[in-house]
């Protein structure tokens, strides 16, 4: 396999052919924000937060797009910043007021991104009151809050491709689309083995640990 040389934010970098823009940027220490991608998973490019400018009509997702020779990538233009910010606002529009993830492991990636891009107002409709997406507390160890789910697909891939338990899937259409377990049964009744990989990869408060910090006497 041959190497490819490109420019990211004005800096030259040479990487093996087939490398994604996101991975190439990492080698330069440029951290392109991303929600749906995790280096342990095959990229799917659904959250679009990592979109970059490569001089095309549209903004490709850096986590999926492979580098090409002499590509000129910008990750920090005004357009990119605005794009990221609007996407973040849209994702936050129907999020619960308090992130359960900030309350349990303290690493909500969506909230961290919101702080990074300095979101204050969210000028988009909040559908959660009219059409709440629901919770599932049937598992003794994993709390599911569909309201916080951004359908990034990380949990589905972690369950299938990392732990190979093949429990989580997607169901529904449009706004009612959500993740589901087995043939859409409550998580606690599904074939889930509670390995918690889905919680580990979830970027929001959609999949979190039930609190374990205290133990009752009995």
């Amino acid at each position: 396999m041959s190497d490819v040389t490109l420019t990211i934010d004005g800096r030259r970098v040479t990487v093996p052919e087939g490398t994604t823009i996101w991975d190439a940027a990492q080698t330069l220490g440029i951290d392109i924000p991303v929600l749906c991608h995790d280096p342990r998973l095959d990229p799917v490019g659904v959250c679009r937060v990592c979109a970059v400018d490569v001089g095309e009509r549209t903004l490709p997702a850096a986590c999926v797009r492979a580098v090409s020779p002499d590509m000129e990538v910008r990750t920090d233009t005004q357009e990119i910043m605005a794009h990221r910010r609007v996407l973040t606002e849209l994702l936050l529009a129907d999020q619960p007021a308090v992130s359960q993830r900030e309350q349990t492991t303290g690493d909500d990636k969506l909230y961290a991104l919101a702080r990074e891009v300095k979101v204050t107002d969210i000028p988009w409709p909040d559908q959660s009151e009219r059409q709440p997406r629901g919770q599932d507390a049937s598992s003794p160890v994993i709390a599911v809050d569909h309201q916080a789910c951004i359908m990034c697909d990380r949990c589905v891939r972690a369950c299938d491709d990392i732990q190979h338990n093949d429990v989580i899937t997607r169901t529904g259409k449009g706004y009612s689309a959500r993740i589901a377990f087995d043939l859409d049964v409550p998580m606690g009744e599904s074939s889930c083995v509670s390995c918690g990989e889905c919680v580990a990869v979830c970027p929001t408060g959609a999949l979190t640990h039930q609190s374990l910090a205290t133990t009752d006497a009995g």
């Binding site: 492991t105 303290g106 204050t120 107002d121 083995v193 374990l212 009995g218």
Partner: protein, 738 residues
């Protein structure tokens, strides 16, 4: 307009993440515990360890809260004078107390604690030391024995065996490896000269096929299982052989369900086909092995047709299995308790070793022998000499020159006589030959076969010192209970199933006056006149490395956060993943033929079914830890005996209904779970639940070589429980504790 509300939680921004390990199984997953300044652990996160690549299973992810359980022992306890003569203290331990109306869950402190009084460390250590010394002075050193633990660190294992050998003066020291892979280790040392794995789990990705024999990795080594499943997704052909359908069977090319105890016949037939169809690796056999002719002769009568009658597996399936394995360029062999826990466990393991030698599948990437080790440090505890026949590093006690070297190193004179193994110690106690026992982190009352005999053995002792986190069933018999430290409270090295030596680090303090196990050992040794002085755990490790050349080139500094494999050829090496590329420690590998043996305690008209015992995903061994983990207890609160639907129908048993399960030694009452995972005529009962204690039923017969009990076969009768029942009220039992 909605505003973005920053919901950062101050507690979680202040958490410290400590790089340590999972305390449960032999996979040895690296993880971070996120803990606050009070030492409260809030979460476990997978770390990029050599054996887990960031993955964890339910036990590692959610089972860490046992250390903070309110029942932790915080003060030394001494048995009150009116609690003698020695015996069990709880209703459960006193008799065959099993079933829906009987105490379940963990030891009932309200019932047991009044028989003990709190003591100072000074008094408790004096009582322990003088009790052991008195037995030694009255009955001789060989009337003493020690059970160490594969849950402790290498340093603790090393010091425990040193204590028993040098301070007490006997080789009667063993631990739960005897209940686990002792037969595999015997066969491996005999066959290739090394008892550890020859290749790491994750190399399964380079294997063309992998044999998953007598093990259930999705339940017992879940993270290792995820790498096997991943390999299968990328083309590795998994071949499972078992009496009970393992979860892995769904990912396998072929699953052969053999009848209980017929392993030798199955593998001999596989070897028969491989030799008959010229699929063996003649070059490897010529260059690297000896004894092929005898093996070929021994497997000759095991035609697939003959084996079909013995194993219940159709001859065509055996032939297909043999061809797939024989034609593969590389194959790995994983096995577990289904191979080892038999009176012919050593023979079973000999067959797998022979199969690997026959097909030339040792010493290259994607090949190798891998007995999946159970406890997080069962490999290390054995390496550290926590076994009666070897000093640290598998150096034979019976070898005079080795003994001389250890006498110099430890500056004492050492006993010549090799010691007794776990079950032999129990049997010797029944004969009155063992009078005093020191148990550090073992719970033989529940873990050893034939509980009624163990009860008698423990009751008959003159002195029992128990060092543990909780009052265990075994501790009910103790003179002195010493409160010890949990995994997440100590620093030490742990050696996983892959031979990787990694450091575990403390994230919390032991509660109350509970102490580091190695401090307790050191103080007892000093009290008994031995000048033990170690600056810290790393100094103990350095002495262990000096004693065991197996661990050469390893130090705390070099292990760092990620650990290394042993053997480690030089100071800069990561250690060796794949062993024996050129030759075996004994030169040539040895084929040791095996004949199909007959298990004791077979079914008859009165006891028509075969009971298999083992583990389940959410629990660990005698349940001392996992049943005190809120999450794990909630996920799997009760024992179920697995019954085949046709047996259930015939016996009038429905899913969830109560049954009586009776063997020639005892009976338990337990709910049924109807599943086709078990074959017709066989049952499965997990070992973790004392209210349906599998070891009330099991037979005490041992493998003659590995001295491992036959946990996998005992004849039982199953019947619906006749009287109408009120379901148990857990609140009434366990809340009393506090």
């Amino acid at each position: 307009m909605k505003q973005f509300a920053d919901s950062t939680n101050a507690t979680f921004s202040d958490l410290t993440e400590t790089a340590t390990l999972c305390p449960y199984c032999g996979v040895g997953c690296a993880l971070n515990y996120g803990s606050d300044s009070e030492g409260v652990i809030h979460y476990a996160k997978g770390r990029d360890g050599a054996s887990n690549a960031g993955r964890l299973c339910v036990k590692g992810r959610y089972g860490f809260d046992y250390a903070a359980h309110p029942q932790r022992l915080t003060r030394p306890l001494i048995r009150r004078d009116d609690a003698y003569p020695r015996g069990p203290l709880s209703t459960f331990s006193r008799a065959n107390s099993s079933g829906p109306r009987k105490p379940g869950g963990i030891v009932d402190y309200a019932e047991v604690l009044p028989h003990f009084r709190e003591a100072t460390w000074e008094e408790a250590l004096e009582r322990a030391a003088s009790g052991l010394a008195k037995v030694r002075d009255t009955h001789g050193a060989h009337a003493l024995a020690g059970f160490g633990s594969a849950k402790g660190s290498n340093e603790e294992a090393y010091l425990f065996q040193k204590f028993i050998r040098t301070v007490l003066g006997t080789n009667n020291v063993d631990h739960c490896t005897r209940l686990c892979h002792a037969s595999s280790v015997y066969a491996l040392i005999e066959g290739i000269g090394s008892g550890a794995v020859t290749n790491v789990v994750r190399d399964v990705e380079n294997a063309e096929v992998a044999v998953i024999a007598g093990c259930n990795p999705t339940a017992n080594h879940p993270v290792a299982a995820s790498f096997m499943k991943q390999a299968a997704a990328k083309g590795t052909g998994l071949l499972a052989v078992n009496v009970r359908r393992p979860g892995m069977a769904s990912y396998c090319e072929q699953y052969c369900q053999i009848t209980p105890g017929s392993d030798v016949a199955f593998y001999n037939a596989v070897m028969h086909v491989i030799i008959a169809e010229d699929l063996h690796d003649q070059a490897f056999i010529d260059q690297r092995t000896e004894g092929f002719e005898a093996l070929a002769k021994a497997v000759k009568p095991y035609t697939p047709e003959a084996a079909e009658a013995m194993t219940g597996v159709p001859a065509a399936q055996i032939t297909a299995f043999a061809r797939r394995l024989g034609q593969a360029q590389s194959a790995m062999f994983f096995w577990g308790m289904g191979i080892s826990q038999h009176v012919f466990g050593t023979d079973n393991a000999r067959c797998l070793i022979a199969l690997a030698l026959l097909t030339g599948n040792i010493g290259r990437p994607g090949t190798g022998l891998h007995p999946l080790r159970g406890q997080n440090n069962v490999q290390g505890a054995s390496d550290a000499g926590l076994v009666p026949m070897y000093y640290p590093g598998y150096q034979a006690v019976s070898d005079a020159s080795v003994r001389e070297r250890f006498e110099q190193l430890w500056n004492v004179s050492l006993p010549e006589q090799p010691g007794l193994t776990t079950a032999e110690i129990t049997h010797a106690a029944l004969e009155g030959e063992i009078r005093g026992l020191y148990c550090m982190g073992e719970n033989p009352f529940l873990s050893d076969p034939d509980m009624n005999q163990v009860r008698k053995a423990l009751s008959s002792l003159d002195c029992l010192v128990v060092q543990d986190l909780f009052i265990t069933e075994t501790a009910e018999f103790a003179d002195v209970i010493l409160p010890a430290s949990a995994f997440m409270e100590k620093r030490g090295t742990f050696t996983n199933t892959d031979r990787r030596v990694q450091i575990g680090r403390p994230v919390r303090q032991p509660p109350g006056q509970a102490r580091q196990d190695w401090h307790i050992l050191r103080d007892l040794a000093q009290r008994l006149g031995h000048d033990w002085d170690y600056a810290d755990e790393s100094a103990v490790f350095d002495e262990f490395v000096q004693a065991a050349p197996l661990y050469a080139n390893l130090t705390y500094d070099r292990l760092g956060e990620h650990g290394r494999w042993y053997p480690c050829p030089d100071a800069n090496s990561e250690g060796e993943r794949v062993l024996f590329g050129d030759q075996f420690p004994i030169g040539r590998g040895r084929f040791v033929p095996a004949e199909l043996g007959q298990a004791p305690d077979l079914p008859d008209d009165d006891y028509p079914l075969v009971l298999n015992t083992g583990r389940q995903l959410e629990h660990w061994h005698t349940g001392v830890m996992t049943r005190r983990s809120r999450a794990l207890d909630a996920l799997a609160p009760e024992a179920r005996v697995e019954v085949h639907p046709s047996d259930a129908k015939r016996l009038g048993i429905t899913d969830g209904s109560w049954t009586t399960l009776r063997s020639r030694r005892g009976a338990v009452e337990v709910q049924a779970h109807i599943t086709r995972d078990v074959a017709l005529g066989t049952l499965f009962l997990p070992m973790h639940f004392r209210e349906a204690a599998a070891n009330l039923l099991t037979t005490p017969e041992l493998d003659p070589f590995g001295k491992i009990p036959q946990f996998k076969i005992c004849a039982v009768a199953l019947a619906p429980l006749s009287t109408p029942l009120t379901p148990p009220q857990p609140d009434a039992v366990s809340h009393a504790a506090g």
